[in-house]
Assembly symmetry: C3
Homo-oligomer: 447 residues x 3
C-alpha cells in the first residue's frame, strides 16, 4: 500500500518543528493584513498578467486592497491548473475556513476576504500562523543597511543580502547607503574592505547566520588576480584602487566607448567585492548562500518582481576557484534551472564546502522538486543537504509551501527508500528530519 | 485503482474532436496510397538506416513501392522496441485489421500491404481517416510560393513557412520564387518588405492561421539595429540596402575572405527578414510559430529528412528582445531538446505573448513528453498551452500519434491532478480538453 | 501486480551470464584481499572526505589496512542514504554473510573485516566472485605500454586506453613510455603514427576489443585540416611536424606568451593524435569508446580519484565531423552528465556508427539511470544499446552494481513495455538480454 505508507511518512514529517532558512519576511509586518497581501504575491500577479490582464490594471497606484483582490479574482481562472493556485486554496482552507470543495470565484471571494481580514486583525495572528506552521525561526533577507532593530532576532534571523554591493556599487545611492551604514568614507580598496568588515561585524553582532547573494548565469568569480593576491592585500590595492575610483565616480555622458570601459571596470569591482565578501564569510564564520542563475529584468513590461528569467546554460565549474580557495567557508548553493541540479549534487558530493540548498523559484514546482530532491537524496551525504526554504514574503505562505515539499519528500522516502531499498519507516523519517531541520541547525549553527 | 482512472480519463479525452495545429500534409494527397507511403516516413527509413541498412538500398530511385516495403520490413527487426514502430502497429491494427498479437514480419507484410492498398483505394479513404481520427481541421506547412489552390482551406488550414526566406534568400532560386510569387522586383529593403507583405496578404486571404519557422540553436533575433529602428523604416533601409544587394548578387568565386564577408552579410539579411516577418505577424494578426533548435544536415550520409540533429545548448534568452519588442504577437514556441522545456515553461509563465506548443521531434518520445507536459501543466496558465501537434506527412499517422499523447495526458491528469491534488475527473478532463482543442481555437482564432 | 511482474523480470534478467564491457580491474589482482580494498574505492573515500574527514587522515601513507577501515567506518554515517553505501551493504551480505538488517558500524566492522579477509584468502576467491556474479569476461582499461602478459585475455579482455597519448604527449615521460613500448624514435608525424600503429598491432594481437578515451567537455575533434587531409598523409605531415617538434621538445621557462603558444600547439597535437587513433580504429576494426565530458582535477584538495568534475554544457555536435568522417568505426559513447543523454539517444538514432554505452560516473545513480535508460529503450534501435558496464576497480563491486542496473531495467521493462505497451514478459526479457549481453557481443565482436 504505497499510498498509506506515504501518508504515514507525511504525518511524521509534518510533526517536525521547522526553521525556514531563507525568506523575504519583513519582521515588522511578518503576517498579512488583508487578502491583498496574499494575492499580491508576485506568483499571482505575474501569472494573471501572463494570462492577459494588463499590468496597469494590476498595479494601479493607490488601489483599495479589496478592489485589488476583486480584480485579480476576476482574472484568476486561467491559473487554476497551477501549483501556485493550489497554495492559495490550501492556505485559505487552513487559515480562513474556506470550503474544501470550492474554487476562488467572483461569487465567494468577498466572503473569504472578510473572513481573512477578521483573522488577520487578531492581535496574535502572527503567532497563530507561526504555531500552526510549526515555525521556530525564520531567516530574513536584509539589505546591508537594514538597522536590524525592533524585532526578536532569534525568531527572525538576520541574513546579509549583498546583491547591491556586488553589482551596483557604482550607483551613487548604493555607495552613500554603504557610507552611512558604516560611517566610512568609501574611496579605495582599503576603505571599501573596511566598510564591508563593519557590515559583517554589525550583522554578526545582531545574530546573522548567513551572507547571501543571487548571481547571473554569466558570473564567474575570478581567482586571479584577486584570489592569488588575497594574502597580499597591499599589493592587491594597487590594482583595485584606480579601477574602483573610476566606478565610484560614475559614468558621465553617453559615449559608447566610455560605457564599455566603465562596464568592464564595474565588472572588476564586482569581482573584488564578491571575493571580499567570501573572505569576510571565512573571517566571521558565516555560510555564504549562493543563488546561481538569474537574469534580472528580462521581461521589461512585467509586473513588480515578475520580470526576471534565466539562461539555463550555466555551470558550477564557474565557481571552481572559489570553492578551492576558501575551504573553510560553507557554500549552501541554490540553482535556478533544474538542469543544473545534477552538477549541484555532484559538486556537493565532491567538495566538502558545498551544500545543496532548497529548490529555487522556477525549479520550485512539484515535478522539478521531486526529480531534483531524488537526485540529491541518493548521492549527496545526508549531512550536506538543506531540503527546503520557503522564500515567502508573508508568513501565511509558509504552510502550503512547506506542505508541498513535505508531501514530495514523503513520496520519495516511501518509493525510493522504504520500498526500493527496504528501509524501515523510522529510518526514512530520520533522513527526512535531517534534511528538513537538522541540517539547517548544523549548517547555520543554530544548535 | 489508478489504472482504471487513467482508462476512464483516456476514454473521455479520446472522444474530443481535434484540430491538428502543425503537420506537413499535402492537401492534394493527404492520405496514403500504399504502405510505402507509411514505411517511407523518415522515422522508419532513418532508424532502419541507423540499424545498418545502406542508404542506397533504401532510396533506390524508381523502386516499386511493394518491393520497397519488402526491403524495409526485412530490416525492421532492430526497431521493434521503438515507439515509432509502435505507431506502425497501432495504425495497421486500427485501419487495416492487422492482428493485435502480431509483429510485422517477412511472413505477413504482403497481406498487410494488400489490405492497406485495398482500403486506400476506396474513394472516401481520406474522409474515413479524418473521421476515425476525429480530425476537424489540419494545419499545413506551405512554402511561401504555394498557390494554396484546389483544396478546402477550412479543413486544410494554410500556414506560411518561412525558413527559405530567412536563411536562403541569397539562393537565386529562392529569390526568383519570391519575385514570381509576388510579382515584385526584389532588390532592396523596401521591395523585399513589400514582397513579404504581399505573401502575408495572399496567405491571410486564403485563411492562413500562422506563420512558422524552424531555427538553428545559434540564431538570436537581434533587436538592434533593426529593432530600434523599426519605426523609422526609411532610416533602416540605409543600412540594409547595401548588405542586401551583396547577398542578392550572390557569392562569386571561392576566396575564403569573400566567403566570410558574404556569410556575415547573409546573417544580417536573415535578421532583417526575420524581424520583418515578425512585424508582419503583428500587422496581419498571425501567431508566429517558432521551432527552436535544429541543426540541418548534421549527418551528411543520412536518408532524406534523416540528417538533422541539434545542439541542446540553446536558451530562450536569445529571444528576449523579440518577445519584448512585439507584445501584440503571440509566439507558440516549440523546443527541440527537452532540456529547454523548463525555460519554455518559465518564459510562458512570465511573457503574455509566449505560448507552449507541442512536443517536437527528438522530444516527441513518450518519456520526454510525459516529463515536459507535466512541467507545463503544473506551472503555465491553462490558457497558454497548445498540448500537441502531430507533425505528420500522411493522415494515417495522426491516429497513433495523437493517441500516444492522449494516453500520456490521461496518465498525468490521473496521477498529478485527480490523485495528488484531489481534482474531480470532470475537472481533469476539462483541463485536457483545453490543451487538446480549446487553446488551438483560442490561439489561432479558429472559434 | 506491477511489483510481482518486476520481480519476475528481474529474476530472468539476473540469470543471464554477463560480459562487463568497461572496468578498471587489474587482472593480476582482480579481487580484493581485505575490506580496505573495498572501502578504499574512491566512491567511499571522496564521500567521507566530502562529509568532513580530512584527506590526510584518509590517505595517511603506510597505514595498516585494518586501521584504515576502522577510521573510515567511524566516519561513514553521513553516507548511509547514498546508493554507494547501498552497494557496500549488498556486497557484504552477498559475499561475507553480513546480517541483512544491520548497518556497518563501529561495533560490527571488525567482524566483517575478519570474515571478508578469510573469504578473500581462499585460493579460488576470484573464481567464486566471477561465478557468483555470472561474469564470463571483463574488459580492462590498459595503459598503452601495458605488457598485457600473465593473464587470460579471453577472461580479462584488453582495451587500449589513450588519454595519455592524446592529452599528455608533451610530457617527456609519456613520450619515453611510448618510445619504449614501440621501440620507435618518435620525432615527427610519420614516426608518431608508426608508433601508434604498433600499439594497435600489439593490442589486437593480444585480443583487445576496444580503444577508449575520456574527453573534457571543451574537446572538439577537428575535421579540418586533419580530416580533409587524411588521405594525403605526406601533405599533412608538413603541417604537423613543426608543431609536434615544439610540443615534444617541451616547454622551457615560464614566459606567459610561450606558455600560450605551447598550449595552442599541444592542442593541435591532441587533435592529430586523436584523429590518428580514430583512423587506426578503422584500420584495425576496433570500436572507439568515447567517454565525453570530464574535467580532471577540479577539486585540487580532493582524495585520490576524487577530484574530477564536469561542465554539463557539452554537445555531441562537437563530434559531428568525426562521426561523418569515419562511418566504418563504431563509437560506443558514454556521457558524463544526464542532460547530454537526450543528444546521445538522438545521435544513436540517426548515426549508424553511434552506439549508446552504459551510464557513466555522476550519471550512474539510480534516478539518472532510470531516466536515461528509458529514453534510450524507447527511441534507439535495440541493436545499438550497450546497457551497462560496471567501471569497477575490484571484482566484488560488479555484483551490486550490475544488480542495481538490472533492477532498474526490470522496472522499465515492466512499466513501459509490459504494462504500457502490452508486451509479453518473454519479449521484454529478450530486449533486456540484448542490452545486457547480446549487444556487447555484437558491438565488440565477442561472438
Amino acid at each position: 500500500m504505497p499510498d498509506q505508507l506515504q501518508t504515514r511518512l507525511f504525518a511524521e514529517l509534518n510533526s517536525i518543528r521547522l526553521i525556514d532558512p531563507h525568506t523575504h519576511i519583513d519582521p515588522h509586518a511578518a503576517a498579512s493584513t488583508t487578502l491583498a497581501d496574499i494575492l499580491g504575491y508576485h506568483y499571482y500577479t505575474e501569472l494573471i498578467h501572463s494570462a492577459g490582464m494588463p499590468r496597469e490594471e494590476i498595479e494601479e497606484p493607490g488601489l483599495d486592497p479589496k478592489e485589488q483582490v476583486r480584480r485579480l479574482v476576476e482574472r484568476i481562472e486561467p491559473l487554476r491548473n497551477t501549483f501556485q493556485y493550489g497554495w492559495l486554496l490550501e492556505l485559505s482552507r487552513a487559515f480562513f475556513d474556506f470550503p474544501a470543495d470550492e474554487d476562488l470565484t467572483v461569487d465567494n471571494w468577498e466572503q473569504l476576504y472578510d473572513a481573512a481580514a477578521a483573522k488577520m486583525a487578531q492581535p496574535d495572528w502572527e503567532q497563530q500562523v507561526l504555531e500552526r506552521t510549526k515555525l521556530d525561526a525564520v531567516f530574513l533577507t536584509n539589505q546591508f543597511d537594514d538597522p536590524l532593530e525592533g524585532f526578536d532576532t532569534s525568531r527572525y534571523v538576520p541574513c546579509l543580502r549583498t546583491d547591491d554591493l556586488v553589482f551596483h556599487l557604482g550607483n551613487v545611492e548604493v555607495r552613500q547607503r554603504l557610507e552611512r551604514a558604516t560611517n566610512t568614507d568609501v574611496h579605495d580598496a582599503a576603505s571599501l574592505r573596511a566598510a564591508i568588515g563593519k557590515l559583517f561585524e554589525r550583522f554578526v553582532a545582531k545574530g546573522a547566520r548567513a551572507c547571501a547573494i543571487s548571481l547571473p548565469p554569466d558570473f564567474t568569480p575570478e581567482g586571479a588576480p584577486f584570489g592569488r593576491l588575497r594574502s597580499q592585500f597591499q599589493h592587491l590595492a594597487v590594482f583595485v584602487d584606480p579601477v574602483l575610483s573610476v566606478v565610484l565616480r560614475g559614468l558621465e555622458g553617453s559615449d559608447p566607448d566610455e560605457q564599455t570601459r566603465y562596464d568592464d571596470y564595474a565588472k572588476q569591482v564586482s569581482q573584488f567585492v564578491f571575493w571580499t565578501l567570501a573572505e569576510m564569510c571565512a573571517e566571521f564564520k558565516l555560510p555564504f548562500d549562493l543563488m546561481v542563475g538569474v537574469h534580472r529584468g528580462v521581461y521589461r513590461g512585467g509586473v513588480y518582481q515578475g520580470q526576471d528569467l534565466y539562461d539555463s546554460r550555466v555551470s558550477l565549474i564557474q565557481y571552481k576557484d572559489l570553492f578551492n580557495a576558501l575551504p573553510q567557508v560553507t557554500f549552501p548553493v541554490s540553482v535556478l534551472a533544474s538542469v543544473t541540479n545534477q552538477e549541484l549534487a555532484s559538486y556537493a558530493w565532491i567538495f566538502p564546502n558545498v551544500v545543496t540548498n532548497g529548490h529555487w523559484w522556477y525549479s520550485h514546482t512539484p515535478s522539478f522538486i521531486e526529480r531534483d530532491a531524488t537526485a540529491r537524496l541518493e548521492a549527496v551525504p545526508q549531512t550536506k543537504q538543506i531540503g527546503y526554504y520557503s522564500d515567502v514574503y508573508k508568513l501565511e505562505f509558509a504552510l502550503p509551501k512547506w506542505a508541498m515539499y513535505k508531501r514530495i519528500l514523503a513520496k520519495i522516502l516511501a518509493e525510493r527508500f522504504v520500498i526500493d531499498r527496504g528501509w524501515s519507516e523510522e529510518r526514512a523519517v530520520d533522513l527526512g528530519r535531517r534534511v528538513l531541520r537538522g541540517n539547517v541547525e548544523r549548517v547555520f549553527g543554530m544548535g
